[in-house]
Amino acid sequence: MKIDEKVVSYFGLCNSPVDKEGYLSKKGELKTSYQKRWFVLKGNLLFYKDRQADRDLIGVIVLEGCTVQLCESEENFAFSLVWSEPGLRTYKFAAEDQVSQESWIKALLSASHSYLALLLLDMEKKYRGESPSDLISAGGGMTATFVLESSCERRCITASSLHNTHHVRCDAFDGFSSERGKSFTMPNFSTTAADQPGACLSQRTSALSLYMSQAAGARPSQLLQPQAVPSSRAASKKSPKLWPKRSANTVPASGAALPTMEWSGFRLGTQEDFSKLHEDFGKEVKDLIVDWSRRGRAGEVVQRDNLIDF
């Protein structure tokens, strides 16, 4: 399959907004060595070139259908982009330090088109006054206030950190007790992290990364990705010609046309909206924190109410 390179290249080099850029080391596909490259993230495309000052782009990675994970590596501050379908790649990267690593992971986690689409849908609903948390709606009253308060409590949990913890919770968790001696890294993506040095989530290890890779292998539907509760529909494996043709208006009159997508790593349930997804994750984070604290610190039980709110 060919790609119109001129178009892609133009987009990469033009002055459209850059979401993140910087040096990362990238592991070659065949070689085991890491090469330092300058990366530029724009939307759901990750461009790279040899050096910042270079004019030409070497390549681009399209960030759809993949997950971002911490990974085991001889390099420090490593993370990877993983496509869990057989035959598809895993890209491995190493950042220069932890701050950079966390920042890149956070940026890449929310880079997909689908994430933006979901968030945009949520904003549209709020703007039109259809969302329960919307303050504009006339009949909001007590209900609206209540919802807003409870969602504010969780407000500092970013999508990224939620997805991280959500991911670890799956499967790999049973193995955790055997690793009690080791501490673990929970990248803290919270915007208020600076205020909470005692956050119980920040300890160091490689054990967490191992679990994340294991969990990734075991449960592709639970990967680090903004996603709704998996729908009961199986991922479609049809050939491209057999997509259903819908004669109904495919473009919602009121909002952006959202391409519907389903594959094993990602489910976009039709009823889920961004705020519900966010709330679901928030609850899971709290449960997870309680569990971790109970197992990881001998004798210390963290009361759910005493948890630090990120």
Binding site: V8, C14, S110
Partner: protein
Amino acid sequence: MRFNEKELVFLSRQPSEMAAELGMRGPKKGDVVKRRLVKLVVNFLFYFRPDEEEPVGALLLEQCRVERDDSQTFSIVFLDEAERRYLFECDSEEECGKWIDSIIKASYEFMRRNLIFYRTEIHRLTGKDPLEQYGISDETRFQVSNGLQLMPRDTSSL
């Protein structure tokens, strides 16, 4: 330029609401209209020869504009120096309109601008930054384009 072809081909297999056989003409002089199965997935337009599993090619729908050439024909014009133009012939006026609309709205940059618009408006109308509840107010990709940041603490300003 290197790109992750297999992963992109995988993307092209995902179900899409906008998929149809159209006449398609490439940007080069001498290109003729050919029947292609055209499919919109995220911000890519894939095109297949009828009855083939793997796409012939993929077009990134960024930095382009969509023009209506006549009632059933539209073009995607890329904003590079050459203004390369891909032409598409639809079976009906309605189909043509849907394609134009969908392609415009599929652009990541278009969606981002919309998001920033809604964010700004909701903040203006309610005094609250709607992204704050998700803790993503400071993310680079959602910053108001003229450089002004919506300060989350600015809730009293009305």
